[in-house]
Symmetry: C2
Subunit: 205 residues, 2 copies
DNA sequence: CCGCCATACGGACCGCCGGTCCGGATATCT
DNA sequence: AGATATCCGGACCGGCGGTCCGTATGGCGG
C-alpha cells in the first residue's frame, strides 16, 4: 500500500532517519533518566547529525511529544472508533473506567517520558493536541454522568494526577497498576455524589 | 526580632545578602517569566557573586523553594496553631475549605513561581517539606470526613491540580479566584459521597 | 582598641545544553 | 544522465546550573 499523498512525498532517508531518532530517544530514555535524553546524545546514538533531529521534531519538546503520541495512538483510535466499553456505546461510567485503565497503563509504562515531556514543554502542555483530546473525552464523559458539576475542571483534575514524578513516587515495584486503580477509585468517588436529580427518563429498577 | 540561637550565629552580611538575593529573585520573577530567573541574573541584580547565591540556597531549586516557603509561612502557622476554621477545632469540611481558600490564594498569586519550582525540582518535589506538610494536612482532613476513601491519594490529587501552568491556563484576568473556587467545589464533590456509613462492620480496604 | 581566624565573598571557570546555520551530499523527477 | 529541490552533518553560539579558590571582612578574645 503506497503512502504518498499530498503535494510532495517525503524523501526516503528522511523517514528512515525519523525512525532511527525515535528509537534512539526511547533507548536513552530507558537506560538513563529523562534528563539523559539530550539532542546531542540522541543524534549521536541515532547516527545522524544534530540538525536532523531538530529539523524533524522542531525541539526537544517536539521529540518527546512525538514519542508520547506514538505510544498513545492505539488508545486514541480505540476511543474514537473502537468497540465498547472504550469506544462509543457504553454508559459513561464504564467508558470512564475503561479509558482510565488504558491511559493509566500508558502512563505507568512511560513515567520517565511523561516527566521529561512535562519539564520540556511548560505551559504549552495544555495546548498540546493530545492533552486536548484526553481532556475533551473526559469532559464529555463526566458531563454525561454528573451534569451538575464542572466537568471541564474535573477533567483537568483527573489529568493533573498523571504526573510522571508522582506516578513514580506512588508505584511500588510489586504492584505496577496501583496508581491506575487509585485514579479509577477517585473518579468513581467523584461520580457518586448524587445519582440523578432529574427523574425524567432513564428507567432503572 | 531575636532570631539567633543554635551553636553558631550567622554573620551579618550573610543574612543581608540572603535578603537581597530573595528580593532580587522575586523582582526578576515578576518582571519576566519564571525562566527569566537565572542564578547569574539574580546574583547580578542582588549585587552579590554567583557563588553567594549558590552557597545560601544550594541550587536553583533551593532558591525557588525558599521563596515559596516565605510566601506560605503564615499559612503554615495558621494551620498548626491559628484559630478555626483554619486552625484546629472546626469540622473537617470547614477546615478543608478554609485551607484550600488560602492555599489557592497563594498559588494564584505565585503561579509563575510555582511553575519555575516544578520545573526546577523534578521528583524531589514530593519529598519537599512543604509538600509533605500540605499533603499530611489534607490527608488528615479527608480521612476524617471520608474514612472510606484513600485519603492519601486524594490529597495527592488535590495538590496535583495546583500546577502553576494550569492555574495560569484557567485564570481569566477578570476573575483571579476562579481557580480556587473550582478546587473547593471539587473537594466538596469528593466529600459528598456517602454521609455516614454503617458504623458496625468494616469491609477490607 | 587591636589583631586573629573562621566565615563568607566574588567572579572566573567548566561542561553541557537547546537551538541555529550553511556548504555539501543525495534522492527524486524528467 | 542531468538538473534541482530536499535533506544532511556537525561546527557554532549564547547561556545555563554548578564548582572552586584566592581574598576580603565580620566577630571576638585579649
Amino acid at each position: 500500500m503506497p503512502e504518498q499523498r499530498a503535494e510532495r512525498a517525503e524523501r526516503a532517508d528522511a523517514v528512515r532517519n525519523r525512525g532511527a531518532v525515535l528509537r534512539a530517544a526511547e533507548r536513552l530514555l530507558a537506560e538513563g533518566g529523562g534528563d539523559h535524553v539530550s539532542l546531542d546524545r540522541v543524534a549521536a546514538l541515532a547516527g545522524v547529525g544534530k540538525g536532523t533531529v531538530f529539523r524533524r521534531f522542531g525541539s526537544r519538546a517536539g521529540l518527546l511529544q512525538a514519542l508520547l503520541e506514538e505510544r498513545s495512538l492505539a488508545l486514541r483510535e480505540a476511543i474514537a472508533t473502537g468497540p465498547p466499553p472504550l469506544g462509543p456505546g457504553a454508559p459513561a461510567p464504564e467508558r470512564l473506567l475503561a479509558f482510565l485503565d488504558r491511559l493509566g497503563a500508558i502512563a505507568e509504562g512511560n513515567a520517565a517520558l511523561l516527566s521529561a515531556h512535562e519539564a520540556a514543554c511548560a505551559e504549552e502542555k495544555y495546548d498540546d493536541p493530545s492533552y486536548r483530546l484526553w481532556h475533551g473525552h473526559l469532559t464529555a464523559l463526566l458531563a454525561e454522568a454528573r451534569p451538575d458539576l464542572d466537568a471541564g475542571f474535573l477533567a483537568h483534575t483527573l489529568l493533573a494526577v498523571f504526573d510522571g514524578d508522582l506516578i513514580r513516587h506512588l508505584t511500588p515495584p510489586d504492584d505496577p497498576r496501583r496508581f491506575t486503580r487509585s485514579v479509577q477509585r477517585t473518579a468513581m468517588a467523584l461520580l457518586d455524589g448524587e445519582p440523578d436529580p432529574d427523574p425524567a427518563h432513564d428507567p432503572d429498577p
